[in-house]
Each structure stands twice: as C-alpha cells, then as structure tokens.
Homo-oligomer: 232 residues x 2
C-alpha cells in the first residue's frame, strides 16, 4: 500500500459492507435479507449493507448498518472476509467487507424504516436467489459460525439474557445441524464456568420448570472473542 501500483494505474473503489445477520426462530437458523429496489438485481434479495461513509471506519459502517435495521442492545459483530473480485458488482469496482452478526430473536424488532424496506428472515437452508455474490458470503459466514461455536461463546448471543440449558443446547444443535447428548452438553457447559445459575425457573408450563441461567464473565468473553461487542 506504500507504493503506487505496479503499472502506475490504480483505480478508485467503492468500499461497502455487507452483514450476515443470523438468528434462531422456531428452531431454525435464519438470516436477514432485504429486497433490492434499484438495479442491478432489482427485486432480488440481498444482504443488508451499504457504502462506507467518508468519515467512518469500516467496522463502524457495519455497526451503523445493523443499528439502522435493528434495535438490539448488544450485538456480536465480527469481520468475516473481504470480497474484491473485479466484476462482482456490475457497476464495477465495489469491494465489500463482509461481517456476520448474531441476534436474539425475542429482543429483535425491525425498525420502522426497515420494515418499509422489505426486510425478511429466511431459513439458511431455503434461501432465495441472492444478488451479487451474496450466496457465497452467506455460505462463508455459516462455515465460520459453525467452526467458532466449538471454541468460543458466540452461541450465547442468540439467546435472551436468561435461558435454560435446553434452549442453549437447541441453539447449538440448530447451528451445527446435528443432535447433541444432553448429559454431555450440560456437563461441558457447566464446567466451562461461564454460566451462572439464577434462582429463577421457567414459568410452569405443563412440565417440570427449568432453571434459568445467565452468561457470566463478560470480561472473559471480550478477551476470548475477536469480535466486536458494542452497546449502542
């Protein structure tokens, strides 16, 4: 970057961000997509995203995009990969930095502005045709999520502040796409020392009430994960 390009010709790029926003709803892993109203790919579904502003960092731009679309308190946001094929956008020379993020479905509400823009959740297993190279980006995000859930605590971001161990297990199962042994799962989670049992229980349904847990030690998490957890 120090030196002008190899052949003296370098070009201006538009820098953009795209966000793969995951949630779990009804036992299914979903991503948020918005409908495009302008060409190219008019009418197609695309990842939420936008241009990076003049005076903002790329990370900030990704956060702003999320803020515009959600009203969630904390969001786990992590840079995923940068896509810069020369013709990935037919308008030319758009380089996009992809992020992925996780939100808890109950806390999540689309902002009014965004409901108008036709945003919708889609099951990752049944995505519509996507604009640009967005299908590839989603695939990449999913891969990263599946790998990171094994050695970090990203999975917790999908749950409300208080949750049962079974709910936690369901998130893991949905993301990994396979069932897990209840006893092994609980033992492992508990001995990680990052869960704090509360005295509360689920409102009695027609079964035995389940103990509610919270996620302890946010400090550890901040350190462990390279992502950006920001209160806005």
């Amino acid at each position: 970057m120090a030196i002008p390009s190899h052949n003296g010709r370098f070009s201006a790029y538009i820098a953009a961000v795209d966000v793969v926003l995951f949630t779990i709803q009804g036992g299914t892993l979903k991503v948020l997509l918005v409908k495009r109203h302008q060409p190219p790919y008019r009418g197609a579904w695309a990842l939420p995203g936008g241009m990076v502003g003049e005076e903002e960092s790329v990370d900030k731009a990704a956060l702003r995009e999320l803020q515009e679309k959600t009203n969630v308190d904390h969001i786990y946001l992590e840079q995923l990969y940068t896509f810069g094929e020369p013709h990935r956008d037919p308008r030319g020379r758009v380089i996009t930095v992809a992020y992925y993020a996780l939100v808890n479905w109950q806390q999540f509400r689309l902002t009014a502005r965004h409901r108008a823009a036709e945003a919708n959740w889609f099951a990752v297993k049944r995505l519509p045709a996507l604009a640009f190279d967005h299908a590839r980006i989603v695939e990449y995000a999913l891969e990263r999520l599946r790998s990171k859930i094994n050695y970090t605590t990203v999975g917790f971001q999908l749950l409300p502040r208080q949750f049962t161990l079974t709910e936690l297990q369901r998130s893991y199962e949905v993301i990994l796409g396979q069932g897990l042994d209840k006893r092994n799962f609980r033992r492992k989670m508990l001995q990680l020392g990052i869960l704090k049992g509360t005295r509360d229980f689920t409102a009695t349904g027609r079964q035995r009430p389940a103990r509610l847990y919270t996620f302890a030690e946010p400090k550890v998490v901040k350190l462990q994960e390279k992502g950006i957890i920001v209160p806005f």
Copy 2:
C-alpha cells in the same frame, strides 16, 4: 452494499493490499519489510504492498505483490483482516486488505528489482518503527499464525521440500516461542499421517544423519486450510 450510503454521501477509496511475509532464518521468525521512498513516512519501514489494479481481484493483487518480491514456487497466502480506519493513511481513504504468507528461507531470493527497493528481513521481536498502522497488522498476523499452527499445517510452508523432524520442531518452537518435548512432538506429527519418510538422510555432518521427510497428501492440506496455495 446494495443501497447507496445512509446519508447519500459515499466516497471513493483506494483499495490496497499489504502482505506480512514470514520466514524463519537462523532460528528466528522474521518478516519482510521495505523502505519507503515517498512520503508519507518517507524513510520508514513498511509492509510490502500496493494498490489493487483495475482488473484484478484483491487476492490476485496480494499474490502479485509477492510474486514481484520473491521467486518462490508455492506460497501459502491467507487473507488476514481488512483495516479501514478513516485516517490510517494521511493521504486519506485508503482501505487495506492484509494478508499473511509463509516462505521457506532457502528457496527464497529477493528479486533484483526488489533488492534495489531496499527490502530486508527483521526479527519480529525487534521490529523498527513501522509506517501507518503496520505494526498492528504484524501483531495481528503473528497472533493468527500462532493460533493456526496448532490445528493446521501452515508450519510446513516454512520448510524445504525435504526436512528432518527436528527442523520441523524448531519451526514450531520459534513460532510458538516455547520449547516442545521431542518425543511427544514426533509421535504427534507422525500419527497425523501427513508426513512421508523418504529413504534419504541428511548429509553426514559430525553427528548421526537424520531421516528426511516430505509432506504428503497435499489434498488434505488444501481442504484443511482456507488459504490460497498457488503455484506461479
């Protein structure tokens, strides 16, 4: 990226790549730096890099940068992170995609063009002051390398085609910054099934000759690692 920016103002960026090129020489982990001849940071050391050309992908640009500076057959190259703080380059609005790469010292020769440009290897423990945010980029690359060496085979890229187990162990020790137990290391490496013992031995020095190994199953590697291994 689908939609013009939030406030209708978006700006053109220069897209650049920077490469953190590692090698091991004399038992020390080193990175390649080039001296800057133009402002800003004139006279300072910086990571090799350059602008992304009009008709090339970002990945290609990183490869090209490496090609210009080295004459190595295969290079392990992996995208690291994208840095886009608004004022990271005083000239303004330069977004850089950082990569890291590993080369084997013996195969490596600086190209003539690059010797002229004053490129030099520096021990990662004793870096000079670096231009821009390059110190941070190196730090980040080092962190990634240390973490990836534990579950991938990146370490092999630092060695010649044939190598002894002790040489392999030394690479790991240098990268991790700690000694490893010889017996455990050898057992683990051999039972991974990715090493193939040859019938050759090191030229007899003044000790017992050591068996030479090669790295088998390039297919496995391709799959395991998300990086780009390209013959040029």
